[in-house]
Symmetry: D5
Subunit: 147 residues, 10 copies
């Protein structure tokens, strides 16, 4: 079974059962962002995690096998995303990219924030003027090696 | 004076005086990320803010005027950034874009996180296994209007 | 059912029954532009709206379910549209983009017109020299936040 | 004098004198959107209009000559605009393009809205929940010719 | 029936019956270029035209219905055409584009040649040194509106 | 002297003297489209033609030399032209490309219309409903060689 | 039958029978490069040539019909070819393009080498230091027409 | 001195002295295609070759030094060349690319024709029906290594 | 059988049997990188190698035939790879490309490292601070030929 | 001083003095690949390293300051490099990308080879059949974090 077929099956079943990503994540004992990424084909589950996921959703061993395959990552399918929600993150990179670079270099020296040793959290902050999305990225600083 | 010339002058002077963005931000009484963005030509200062900035750095009225011009935004100059630090943010959008979309829709319904009514913070979290970059994005949720 | 399949089914049925978007919109009690956008897979219906739509067109619950899914937006499928009608809007952005930017900044300061808290209307204005298309875009002004 | 040099000179002088596009438009007796487009190098002035413009701004005959040259149009310089304000119009074309096409065809038949026999207006609509930008596009419907 | 399927069916039947576009056009009483464009999915037939076309070719009502649908135009499917015959027209635009612009502006002022109120004719001019293709484009001049 | 500098000088002088391309062409005894193409850097003049051109416009031997250089052709500088007048020709290729291909093949067999052994004419056809631009392309048919 | 299907069938049969392009070309009495191009969907066979080809390979009349259709040419499917063998020809154009242009203009004047009235030959030249591929392109020089 | 400046100087001097590439090549004792490539900044001269070149053209030691620098190769500056002469070579790759690949593999097995251990020759073949350009590419066959 | 179908079958069977590329390579008596490349459709097996491969994996003669076909190479399917692991190699080319060029030219003169007469090895180097990937590329230096 | 100006000055001086990158690296006590990368503007020197570099080359403090600035990395300036030496590395990524991904995942699990905690070495291996370039990349394996 192809990874994209597994994603389709997982999302379809989730819809049929009226489940949330949060509920699946709770059943699995992992953060909902990571679990969603794994379902979307962007992260790799252990055998046990895959087993729990398909058990919870009532899916078969082929889906569990697919979830353990290391996927070819990249979920958006366009260089510049067209979907407005996803585009805003492209815009943040375009507008604030040099600012983030300047600040990280000032604070840490030459290097990057890892997107691999990396966690992503999304929270809702209620606000009478309109609720706010709070996204936290936490990535290891990797200094450039000299040799 | 063109906005890019003002940016060059500001960065040159900052370097000559051995200043940090943090120091400039403190003198100005604003967050260092926003101040850096303004210096990079991505945000607009008020007359008072521009005045304080050039006074602190010992620059002229022409730079202050440029800082009050609403800039044509976009700092990266490439659709897919080549600089490794900035590229990682492009990668995060490519890999986690559909995940972020799914989670925000699950938490908030149809709409987006604003990149305008938006704040960005960058912190260093010390860690014996390697310090971590913690980036917090805080944007108003804008629900799609129906009509 | 995929969102694009639902769009195909809806358009096919509309054609078979010789209906207009306006008639569907009237049955639904919403503006015809918004209803067309929802049918085209660019907006999300409530359960009640989806129910009314499929009842009016004689379609099934699977189409209604699809209409309530938050879609991955973007209808054109090309960066520069080739269809002449759609291209003219690309041309307007290319030719008048800096003009619109200058005027909005003069009238409102630094910020943008929202494309989310946003309405679009299309009217016909009869004219003996050739009828005219009148498009009105009404979007909330979002000032850039400082922090 | 190149058209882009004339644009630079006009904008510089406008800034020095603290003028608005509206004030220049009033002096010229034309709509401020069209006058801004002409200054931005996207429309062509008559000799009289160019004369009035340079007289009002205290500029020379070379600028007046440039304003009468038919320009090579296109102000944005990127296929997908990066500036957030201009991008939102690209997004509207991407998201609502097929909707606008469907509605115009339903109302007018096969053809397009002209971007040449075309007017553009920008208004501010005050609103306690946040002022709104109202943009009106008024273009002649051009039916496809059969032969 | 999708428009592209109708095109396939029409071309297949034309081939089977050994017909020319000219013969179909004659049966329909319209110019062969326009009729070919309609078959290729680039123009819209009236009910009567579609009826005559399918009757002449012995095809069904579903093809006739498709021919009356206003198509999403654009036949080439590549920004820079690779087919050598079609590429030559791209080359003419690239090489002679600024020349055509200069001459039309000299003869007509600021405006464009319409590609909508537009006719295209293709003739063979016999020549002992090699026959010549003579293409005539006839489009309404549309002057830019001022407002 | 670079070819683009020669083009600039020629256009500047033409403007200063209030000349038309037609007048220059008449002085040279060649068609105005070809002469404009040569001035725009898309065709090569003989020594005599270049001499006559600079003599008529009062320019120097360096311009005459540049006009005799075989240029690197391509006047538009963008794959998809943004200028609305030039774009319409791109649109014609996109919309009518497969139609033109089908008709030329039906009339001539496999081969192309040359864009080298090629002439281009532009005429104004007066019309009370709006003057029309009539463009005639006349290119040798080149049959594909078999071997 | 689509042209690409015919190509698939022809290549499959060739493989099954262990034939070479050279053998097919010999049976057909034409050069192996041209015959391969026709099989690859880049050239058009006469009825007799198509007949001989399918007879030799034991294929049906539908393949013969497809071989007589004038194809939409372009075999590579990428602007910059990724296959290393094909890429080397792209590289030759990129590296030696201006050299070839300079030499052809020096030898022939302004014009091009035709890619239509054109033959291509490929030979093996044995060499103890490694055999060599010798490709000969033979195209008619087409001088730019003046008018 | 930058390599591009050296190219400019060499071409300018060649023009002033009315020399051909062939004459320069003769003075140098090398093939005119290679010498032109070196002048165009696509090949590297030895000290002696560079010396002879500048002596023949009356240029200085800085040009000779530049000719000995290994250049960053690539002369065309566009992925798809716009100049019609150079484009025809791109077209040959696009149309005949898979044919050339099939024939070379049939004759030599898996591997490529080197574009490095490679010679290029351009000849004129006189023909009463129009002279022909004959280009010969001679590159070492490099078989793919297995390991 | 298409090459991509063979790749799918091979990978599926490998997964079902829980085999590693290393195990397949051992059975075949070749290096695991080369064997993986052949399975991925980037290298060509001899009849004997293909036979051994399908025998080891229990697949049919059609897969063996496909493995002997010379493939159209290029495995990534995107100009800029999105998968983070593959992207890092693109990044290395972008960041260190000019450095590698300068060093190879300093050590070897004008020429390239062959990617055809080329071997690739991947090793794991254990390290308490985190294991390291060691990739060795070994390609023949090909000096540019002069002629 | 801009980083690119420093690079120009450093390369010019190196040329004038007939130095190699190896000699500069020796003076500096660092690996020649890293030193070349720093000179090319892709790595950041410490104050002491920059000091030694300019002292060795007889350049000023402004160059030393530039060498300590963290650069905006990316040396190639094109998505697909045109220079044949650099292109071969792009080709290796395109052809062997999925192979490298499969092998690294088999050996290490899900994660990437770092291009930051990374060393690059280039050696010459003499060989009577032609010397070989041996490139070794040594990067830390970074496993994907789960959370």
């Amino acid at each position: 079974m192809m990874r994209t077929d597994a994603t389709h099956k997982l999302l379809e079943r989730k819809r049929e059962r009226g489940l949330t990503f949060e509920a699946i994540a709770k059943a699995l004992g992992r953060h909902k962002v990571w679990v969603t990424a794994a379902i979307m084909g962007q992260a790799t589950m252990s055998a046990e995690e895959a087993q729990k996921t398909v058990a919870f959703l009532g899916l078969g061993a082929d889906v569990a096998a697919a979830l353990q395959e290391i996927p070819s990552k990249g979920s958006v399918g366009q260089t510049v995303p067209v979907d407005p929600l996803i585009y805003r993150f492209h815009e943040i990179t375009q507008v604030y990219g040099t600012t983030i670079k300047a600040i990280i270099h000032e604070m840490f020296g030459d290097g990057i924030m890892s997107a691999i040793d990396f966690e992503l959290d999304i929270q809702k902050k209620e606000d009478p003027k309109g609720d706010r999305v709070v996204i936290t990225m936490n990535g290891k600083f990797l200094p450039y090696k000299k040799w």
